[in-house]
């Protein structure tokens, strides 16, 4: 027995492959959407992984530093270091703002990292080019997603920084690229605004008679100096000594320092559960709709392909072809179409995923699930078409 499905495909291979490609693009879009969702969740995880911390110490009763603003004194880390089980404690600041270079203006998350050496919590864990920051001011390490190159001079608030290193996949939970600068510069950037604002603020202070007393020279200067300092950071990142449980150390810090401490699982819950939850649900819903639409279109295409062969099917039935043979021909064609479509879809998704502005993560689990979904949909769609084919009356072949 020859393969009717094979012969039919061979006969119209151009149309078949073309249909497969079209189907594949649709499947690729659906796979990409799943990748967008996974990318969002991964952004959150990358943020936590790259900070290199096991505990996050933030302002009491806030969900900071990512989900809610949090402010701590920058000398709080000293007392945290004294808590048993703490190996490293480092200040860190986060501020999402515009970073300018000569040609462009990029929205980035500016991270202020405490001075120290590579391995300090908050420092980028690995680089793709250049070096880590060595000077205490005016150097920056940027993520390549920001589009800066080594040696570029970028402007953050009032200062210029030289890009000395590049990283990859260091992004905020919203997908903004990170730019790492020394902590003191970041504290100033978070607090001090442009020169005009600073001058206005000084003028207002000097017009205030409480601060500008004639009998107390030096008072005004002291007040202005204290106003220009920013002693706050957004969080303290903590690494533990081996052998200490994070929950134990976290509750020690919370009890004695009267701050709020989150462990890694809790931080993940906050990020994924609160920060990106709405966007994730949005994309998830869209993904479901897209999958349903894709399934409907696949079914429609296969059904139409079969209907186009109704005359041949009637003749085949008349000359004595078994229903089973006809059904298997239709199902084989549907599955073949599904396989081609899936292959095209996976390839297309892999090729265009890197061009998306935010991270698209295609995981093998989704690919396999997608494969089985395509197979199942093709089989179900072919069942509908088979039902239509089997209901064809061979008598219709005899006209009149």
């Amino acid at each position: 027995m020859i393969s009717l499905a094979g012969r039919d495909i061979q006969h119209e291979w151009g149309k078949y492959v073309f249909t497969g490609i079209g189907l594949g693009l649709l499947i690729g879009v659906t796979l990409t959407m799943a990748g967008v969702y996974r990318g969002m969740v991964d952004d959150g995880k990358a943020l936590l992984d790259n900070s290199g911390a096991e505990l996050w110490v933030v302002q009491k009763e806030t969900l900071g530093p990512y989900a809610e603003p949090s402010s701590l004194n920058d000398d709080a880390y000293r007392s945290i270091l004294a808590v048993q089980g703490v190996a490293q404690a480092a200040n860190i600041t986060y501020l999402t703002m515009q970073v300018r270079s000569d040609e462009r203006d990029v929205r980035a998350m500016v991270v202020g990292i405490a001075s120290g050496e590579a391995g300090t919590p908050g420092w980028p864990p690995y680089l793709v080019a250049g070096r880590q920051i060595t000077r205490s001011h005016y150097e920056a390490v940027a993520d390549i997603a920001a589009g800066f190159a080594l040696g570029d001079r970028i402007r953050i608030r009032r200062n210029h920084y030289t890009v000395v290193g590049l990283t990859r996949r260091m992004v905020s939970s919203g997908g903004d690229p990170m730019v790492f600068i020394p902590l003191k510069d970041a504290q100033e950037a978070q607090f001090l605004r442009d020169n005009d604002a600073v001058v206005q603020s000084r003028r207002r202070t000097s017009e205030n008679p409480a601060f500008n007393r004639a009998g107390v020279p030096g008072l005004l200067d002291a007040v202005i100096t204290s106003q220009s300092r920013n002693p706050f950071v957004n969080a303290v990142l903590v690494r533990l000594r081996p052998g200490y449980a994070s929950d134990d150390v976290a509750s020690s810090i919370e009890r004695w320092q009267r701050l709020t401490v989150y462990t890694r699982p809790e931080m993940e819950g906050i990020l994924v559960g609160k920060l990106i939850a709405t966007s994730a649900r949005q994309i998830g819903m869209f993904l479901v709709i897209l999958a349903i639409v894709s399934a409907a279109i696949v079914a429609f295409i296969i059904y139409t392909m079969t209907l186009g062969k109704i005359r041949e099917i009637a003749v085949l039935k008349l000359i004595g072809t078994r229903n089973r043979t006809i059904a298997s021909m239709i199902m084989q064609q549907a599955l073949g179409l599904g396989l081609i479509g899936f292959a095209v879809g996976k390839i297309a998704a892999s090729f265009w995923a890197p061009f998306f502005p935010k991270y698209v993560l295609l995981i093998p689990g989704d690919t396999i699930a997608g494969f089985f979904a395509v197979v199942v949909i093709c089989m179900l769609a072919s069942l509908i078409a088979i039902r239509a084919a089997l209901r064809v009356d061979p008598a219709d072949a005899i006209g009149g």
């Binding site: 006969h11 590579a118 690995y126 004639a214 009998g215 020279p217 995923a353």
Partner: protein, 383 residues
Amino acid sequence: MKGLPFKGRTMALVAVLLALLGLFAFVALRSGPLAPVAVTVTTVTSRSVAPAVFGIGTVESRYRYRVGPTAIGRVTRLLVDVGDRVVAGQLLGEMDPVDLDERIRALDAAYQRTDAAVREAELRRSFAQTQAERYEQLLAVRSTSEEIVATRQQERQVADVALLATRAERARAGDERAALLAQRRNLRLVAPAAGLVSARDVDPGTTVAAGQTVVEIVDPTSLWLSVRFDQSSARGLQSGLSTRILLRSRRGEPLPGRVARVEPRADAVTEETMAKVAFTSALDPLPPLGELAEVTVSLPATANAPVIPNAAVQRVDGQSGLWTIVRGDLRFTPVTLGASDLDGNVQVRSGISVGDRIVVYSAKALSARSRITVVDRIPGVAP
């Protein structure tokens, strides 16, 4: 003859399907989690590094004189303005004497009066002396009574004392007058040393409090930088080390300098060590006070030791170390780090040796199970 189009059709279909399969396999293996991680590798060499300490400083004058009155008063006149050069002892301005001049004149008159009183007392004393001597002579010849002689001697003693009293009065009047004169002199604002007027905070007619600065004078030849260094990277900072100074306004021209003094007191709040760095070459024109400068202090070069780029240092399980490639396999090697320079080169005290191959850059975080592929440059990084 007729077979060819049929076969051609099959061949075309087979070709397309094979291409598809090939692309699929390519995509599966080269992208996504199955793909190997691109890394760049370098071989460890031994050399010395030139450590340096980096800080930000502001231009200051070594000597800053704030000239002002010692008592509350009103400024009558100022003879200098910002930018004027002055010499030591030059009159800068004057405070309002108010009634001081009149009081001095009154004390002058009082002095003269006391002077006159002294002269009168002297005359009386000399007369009393003469009288006492005459009557002593007369007593010797028994021409007078002893009572009269005693009276005359007593008058002489009284006159002596009266003279002393008036002289003391006169001295007191003179001292009071000198005191007011000193005060009067104090109302003259005088330059304590040669220099440049850097600030004039009030204008004539303003009332100023005691201790308030009216005119500030700096010594322009004694400019230096007050520099702050991060304490954690200030190891080895001491006076005498040579420095490189980059003024904000002169970015392209580094200036030579020298650490003049490391301040014994650091800033505990900002965790910075402070030092004073002097310019060792002449500056023309002078930078304005308060201008920022980037200061790099050179420390003596270290001995040769294995050197690695600081981008290669990773932290795994609480230890600092490097990913080394041993017989093609990836392995994490803990190291202890030594001196480093500002270009990112770090010496390794222990853990690896010269000739080891280490991973510098990687496209993803590495683990012991990662598959790697060595490239010249991580994809996505512009040359």
